[in-house]
């Protein structure tokens, strides 16, 4: 990265070999600036970026699915309301790690099956399931590129956390006092207007504590990304923290795992603390004018 890096590496190697030589502060800083910008090291930063990217996309996807699930549950059509009821209830009873394994696998098999049957392999004689293995024809097999894995991760996290979110939204919608909605109807507002102007705005204050919790669970679930084949920050922290000797590395150091994991802890802590700040602001905003022990919020 920096042009002085090869020279510093040489110097440090010599210094490590000879106990009598001490390294100046300036050299140390230069050494770190080289160490942190090696190709290997940049991948841990990239992994941190991937985590943030997945978080950033998972939130809207799960909110969308959450709303669809919660609203669909109240649908007039039995099929939709039943599917959505199952979606809302599924996370309550099944450990989420099962979903992290199950959902991506189902999606992957589903897509491969679809491609196999419908698009690429119409002339292929071998069946998709040969009794032992699922084998899509080569054209239909999904190549596990980094991009595909990230998309799959977002979809899987979106579905799992969408189910959590549906649960929260369902409860929050029910928590809005009925009198508030009925009053809207009594003044001649349409069902949609009642939903948009009264039900939705009042729902947030009941949903936010749940969302804040869910967001923390989501952040803390990102290490599970390795289950989906994504080499995440923990993998790299472990890799880079290991003893680096002169023989194997340009920039040798001792066992630094402790420091690496400490840095990871700080990273996650800053992420969660920052988001708590945002949430407490939102809560203040949506609780504006609300007093918990005031009867005006509806029927008593």
């Amino acid at each position: 990265m920096f042009e002085y890096c090869p020279a510093i590496a040489e110097q440090v190697k010599i210094a490590l070999g000879d106990e009598s030589l001490s390294i100046s502060l300036q050299d140390r800083l230069q050494w770190f600036s080289c160490y942190f910008t090696t190709k290997k090291h940049l991948s841990i930063f990239r992994a941190a970026g991937v985590v943030m990217l997945i978080l950033a996309f998972t939130v809207p996807v799960s909110l969308l699915l959450g709303f669809m699930g919660a609203l669909g549950k109240a649908s007039r059509w039995p099929i939709i309301s039943q599917i959505c009821s199952i979606y809302v209830i599924m996370v309550r009873g099944i450990p989420d790690i099962i979903f992290f394994l199950f959902v991506p696998l189902t999606i992957e098999i589903g897509i491969e099956f679809f491609l196999h049957k419908a698009i690429y392999c119409r002339d292929v004689v071998e069946p998709f399931f040969n009794g032992i293995n699922l084998q899509p024809c080569p054209d239909a097999a999904i190549i596990p590129t980094q991009f595909n894995r990230i998309v799959l991760a977002i979809v899987a996290y979106g579905i799992v956390f969408g189910s959590f979110a549906a649960n929260i939204i369902d409860g929050a919608l029910k928590a809005v006092p009925f009198g508030q909605r009925e009053t809207g109807a009594a003044f001649g507002l349409t069902r949609f207007q009642v939903f948009r102007d009264i039900h939705m705005p009042q729902m947030w204050r009941f949903a936010l504590p749940g969302f804040s919790n869910l967001w923390l669970i989501l952040i803390k679930a990102t290490p599970l990304l390795f289950l989906l084949g994504i080499q995440d920050i923990i993998y790299y922290a472990d890799l880079l923290g290991k003893v680096a000797t002169r023989r194997y590395s340009t920039y040798p150091h001792g066992d630094w795992k402790l420091w690496y994991f400490l840095a990871l802890g700080v990273f996650y802590l800053l992420l969660t603390m920052g988001s708590q700040l945002v949430f407490s602001r939102l809560e203040r905003r949506f609780n504006q004018g609300m007093s918990i022990n005031n009867a005006s919020s509806g029927r008593v």
Binding site: G179, Q180, G184, G188, G289
Partner: protein, 262 residues
């Protein structure tokens, strides 16, 4: 034959209204008419069906039998299973916009300021411009004496102020009739007066009002007609003088002596 002028139509006309909640037959054939400018007070013991009847007028409850006509317009129904539903949602919303309701629990929208509470239904239902709706809101809030609270949230107001704000919200819709369901019974006695005064001043303006109340003195004071509801039927009706000074039925006599001694 010349068709009657719209003004000559009763504002509210109910005939043979029946309403049940599963097994409970609450209204058993009620007829009620409120002409333009009438203040009709409904009295009756708890559970006699006063609220239910009032809620049938603007279709918050759907009566399974009977006719409802608002300013001469008949509500149309369609059968649904063993029951029935209004067949035209737009008609229901139009009629509701023309009959503003004031609830016992005020039911101001808790997430909106007093101003926005009064503005919202005007904007959404009457499609008034923002400026026009705010102007009308300022007028009605001044009318009930709380224009200084326009930017406060409902929870920051006393019960009496909240109920006056709810009345301003109802007035701003310029409805054909106002429906009140025990507007002061959730209030402390010392706050009742300010709300009753506002309602009295509205009654003096010849507005059409249907009012459920447990306050006999107030009913006598404001009403043109008093209706005594007993077990889902109208037991007796007439001018306040007739009903309070000269009750004919034994039930009304019992009811009145019980409420005096209260």
């Amino acid at each position: 034959m010349i068709p009657p002028e719209p003004q000559d139509q009763p504002v509210i006309e109910l005939s043979d209204i029946h309403k049940s909640f599963s097994d409970l037959h609450v209204l058993k054939g009620v007829n009620l008419t409120a002409n333009k400018g009438d203040v009709v007070a409904m009295i009756g013991s708890s559970g006699s069906g006063k609220s239910t009847l009032l809620r049938c007028v603007n279709l918050l409850e759907v009566p399974e039998k009977g006719r409802i006509a608002i300013s001469g317009e008949d509500i149309t129904f369609k059968p649904k299973g063993n029951d029935r539903l209004p067949s035209n949602a737009a008609q229901v919303n139009r009629i509701r916009a023309n009959l503003s309701m004031v609830f016992q629990q005020f039911n101001l929208w808790a997430h909106l300021t007093i101003m926005d509470n009064v503005v919202l239904p005007q904007r959404r239902v009457l499609k008034r411009s923002k400026q026009e709706a705010r102007q009308r809101a300022t007028d009605t809030l001044r009318r009930v004496g709380i224009d200084d609270k326009a930017d406060a949230f409902p929870a920051q107001l006393s019960g009496g102020q909240q109920q006056r704000a709810a009345i301003a919200r109802a007035l701003a819709m310029d409805p054909a009739a106002l429906l009140f369901d025990e507007p002061t019974s959730a209030l402390d006695p010392e706050l009742e007066g300010e709300v009753l005064r506002v309602i009295k001043s509205l009654a003096d303006e010849d507005r059409t009002m249907l009012l459920v109340t447990h306050d006999m003195r107030f009913a006598r004071d404001v009403a043109d007609k008093v209706v005594f509801l007993h077990q889902g039927r109208i037991e007796e009706e007439g001018t306040p003088k007739e009903l309070f000074d000269n009750p004919k039925s034994e039930r009304l006599q019992q009811f009145l002596s019980a409420s005096v001694s209260r």
